[in-house]
Symmetry: D2
Subunit: 329 residues, 4 copies
């Protein structure tokens, strides 16, 4: 689809340069008008709740109607399809599991773009391939709407407490309008550049995170085998050039830090299967742009092997456990 | 040799437990008695100068007599062989390029152990295989001397300014005696555990450093290809979970930071060939201890390929350049 | 697109089971009726010539009209678009560089499916993502046509001599009809299974080929460094369990074999950039099916790095040269 | 030890050139004089039996005296130490698990070299680091004896049936003398070059074998996921450029071939832990010679991870199982 739509997009980029101010002026900018929210999973639900808490009427939809129950009880209106939401709200946030879901919710037969109003602001917080974000933006622009990608970091805890980080890509003129809504759900709202760069930033960060985590796990394991105390080794790394977030904030070795998944048998946190998904996106974008990512690629493979060996639901720091010798060997 | 000496070492460990206090008491502990220094290369020379500056008479030796010229002019005594130095000084520091040199300087026919005095303190600051450090410690103990490994981090600049970090392995009772000398050359003197753990800490740190650097290089490269501004991407990573020393302190992308090798065409800094050497040590210790180090191993291979392709003398952050598309492709 | 079309395809699979015999009967099965051919590049041109040589009238089209000149001189009819070809011929072969070209040629505004006749047989010999083959098959089926994927192995030489290997995926009932045409261009016509399995077989073979080639290159390089004569080492490997096609038929070390690219400064053969493309397809299908391919993934990265370092146009066996120490190091 | 002995070896190489003919003439060349055999493990026992069967009196020794029982019953004389064997036999074969054992058996306090006769022929069939072979050869030469490395391929079955392959390194003038003995135990006796090249050839073969096996496993797994029948895929690979010993002779996928470990739940064959050991040797020699071996290195890491996850005792083709999704995922 990327390939097919790209031609269209280029046409639209020209149009966009000349016609944009008209788009902006036609949208209802008055605050506290209804906000659409599509995708009420583990992340979407608390996000929508924070919109409600901040006084925004919410018009929601999800393929699983029961997912809407909680925010319906809190006053949200629930509709049957993305198209119906788009008919009622000119600012819509989507939070979906993967690229195909996003394509369906935007361009499907009951998708947002079937009934989107001119000038609507469409913010997608899903983590997906940046080229799909670009395709969606081009398709939205054809209908006179504005699409921005705004993936999050921070997990369910941050979604509940309204402390997510949003990495936002799209037209700079629209960033403030997006920020107004996103600040109800997050504390860091970062403008990254044109459409797709929010995804790019998210994917890049998570690729480097995965590399740092596996690197920390194998380094700690090697040090322990060589007779170093794990806490002391972590201290030495953290005051030296080996320092990284995985060594100083989320150490994967049980007993080194408290309040992290390694202290709790790798329960909670960020699941290996989710990390494998993000690394798959990184790999795809690297392949498509012909960029060598040797360590990112191997990190992807290691998390994929872990999924095959029973680690799918454990926190991604459990790679430390995966690499250690089994007890009865 | 490791295998052969290990049996001996175990015998000696028993002996050591009972006989150690005698060793300690027999050494001249009075400060400012002569200190031996063997190995006056780019690192050893400024280290020896700092000993002289702090009032320690230095008795030096090097296979290249001209290397001794500078500190001889500053008042050091120069002798022909490690054995002769050991005959005159009961505290000796060695700073040599690799394991075989260390073996030769300690156990060779004109080596330190040929004439070492009972109770001497032998501190090796070379970066070598920890199993060789253990062998040297066992051989030294057989002669009634104490061997400690104390590799450094910090490079020539830190050696000149006396701001090295020393990671020290060996008998805890001897740590203060070693620290007295090492503080003249460094600001961080860290006790890591039994003999060999200084090397282990150094090797572990540099392995994680190499992983972080290549990871940062490929992540920055991918982000740039995806349309992100490199400075902005570095900022995002540095406030997120992708943060590491290579992204926030030594960024490999020209234009992101000042005062780092990437700002100076990868001149200076820590050469790729030196990083490849340290990764070779990490790989050897991992192989010998049967520890899986998948990313460390691939990092080793990448630095090895870079050496084969003309990057041997550039700073190790030049991996960013190595991974980028050539201009005329 | 894959995701979007997949739902459609499932519907169509039901339809296909009941309605297929009708499709078959409606096609002109008489031999020597015109055959359409779209994509007259280095591979397509000699393939179309072999169809002509075997007495098939050819109706051709290419985005670069000059590419059609040669076969036009040999009697082929040249039309302006895939749609026009589809209007005239009910058996069409396509040979295109990548997935987006295939999507455009089949589903674009002047694509085959705009004017395809019911019961037409569409054979795609491009090497592309198997999921795109499945999408094309579903789209073709919606128009009452039959799509088969039939990628080739063998290169330009085999295309000229009519000795290609075709790996064919699609409805088994149609295999004989496809084989009739393909035997004019190839000697091995292998039925692989349902649509997409031709691509799968091609991609799998090339991934294992790349792994074997890099493995052979690094093994030969290591052996030479350890003092072995390269010809002798190749002999030993070839009579032992290290044997593979790259060691016994296409050895990458200059001087070991004659008549292979390594004997001719890595000119000719199968370019590194083409291998990188096929490994990108392998990586994408592996990512999409969540299959760990650690060595295939690293092979992809190595060929990608080679493209970045000036090896894009050399034969893929030049990885031996890439891994060797530069002369002036 | 390598480093220490290397100087000695260079001295001896000079000596060897001039004085060698004397060494040769001083040895008992008459056939059927006693042959020493040290190391009666799973491989050594059947090898020694084949010597006996061929009429050679055998004088044996092993650290575990019970290992000698079987060949003692067949007529072999058993002595207490390698030194005593060397005192009685001037042709000795050693078959030991690893480098440290070889160092001990040759240079230890009761080692062969303590009592070796001038002109003795010492053949080591262990698989060890080639640099240790060189050290042993130098030490033997100092005592007037000749050392050759002659590692085997073929496993216990081939050892029993006398069908091993020997890869022999050492002085070419001695090859025939070695061959006379080795032909009683093997069918292929290959002269590889100077001392250490037998090991080099063995290590190189096994590294490429490991790469081919993992490559085959991941390729077959990917193909199956993409809908290909495993037997068909194996056939396609085996007639194409993906062909290798692991795909056509020792396929890792259950059901594709009979009579291989994959047909028997990966019992028997060549254990993962043994492959990991050989890959460790390959990695060490590559590191020491600064040779990049990216796939060999990753193969090593994968077999090391498998050992950590319970695959140590399974045949090395079980990597197919390791990479597959667990059933209850």
């Amino acid at each position: 689809m990327a390939g097919v739509l790209r031609g269209t997009k280029n046409l639209l980029q020209g149009l966009h340069k000349h016609g944009h101010s008209a788009l902006v002026s036609s949208r209802t900018m008055a605050s506290k008008t209804p906000v659409g929210f599509i995708g009420l999973g583990n992340m979407g639900r608390p996000m929508a709740k924070n919109l409600l808490k901040n006084g925004y009427p919410v018009i929601a939809s999800d393929v699983f109607p029961e997912a809407c129950k909680e925010i319906q009880d809190l006053g949200a209106q629930v509709l049957d399809s993305p198209a119906e939401v788009a008919d009622k709200a000119d600012r819509i946030i989507t939070m979906l599991p993967s690229s195909p879901h996003v394509i369906e919710v935007y361009t499907g037969s009951n998708g947002i773009l079937k009934k989107v109003k001119k000038g609507s602001l469409l913010i997608d917080s899903s983590t997906i391939d940046p080229s799909v974000s670009k395709d969606m933006a081009a398709a939205a622009e054809k209908m006179g709407a504005v699409f921005m990608d705004a993936p999050v970091s921070g997990g369910v805890g941050a979604a509940n407490s309204g402390k997510l980080t949003f990495m936002v890509g799209g037209m700079e003129e629209e960033f403030n309008a997006a920020k107004e809504l996103l600040t109800t759900m997050g504390t860091n709202i970062i403008y990254c550049g044109e459409v797709g760069t929010g995804q790019a930033a998210k994917i890049c960060n998570n690729m480097l995170l995965a590399i740092g985590m596996i690197g920390t796990a194998e380094t700690m394991n090697l040090g322990i085998r060589l007779g170093l105390d794990p806490k002391l080794l972590a201290q030495i790394l953290n005051m030296s050039s080996g320092r990284c977030w995985s060594s100083d904030t989320y150490n994967p070795v049980p007993g080194v830090m408290e309040g992290v998944p390694s202290a709790n048998n790798y329960q909670g946190g960020f699941g290996t299967t989710l990390m494998a998904k993000d690394l798959g996106l990184a790999q795809n974008t690297a392949t498509n742009t012909k960029t060598p990512v040797p360590l990112g690629s191997l990190a992807h493979q290691i998390y994929r092997m872990m999924c095959a060996r029973g680690y799918a639901q454990k926190d991604f720091s459990s790679v430390f456990q995966f690499l250690r010798e089994e007890e009865n060997q």
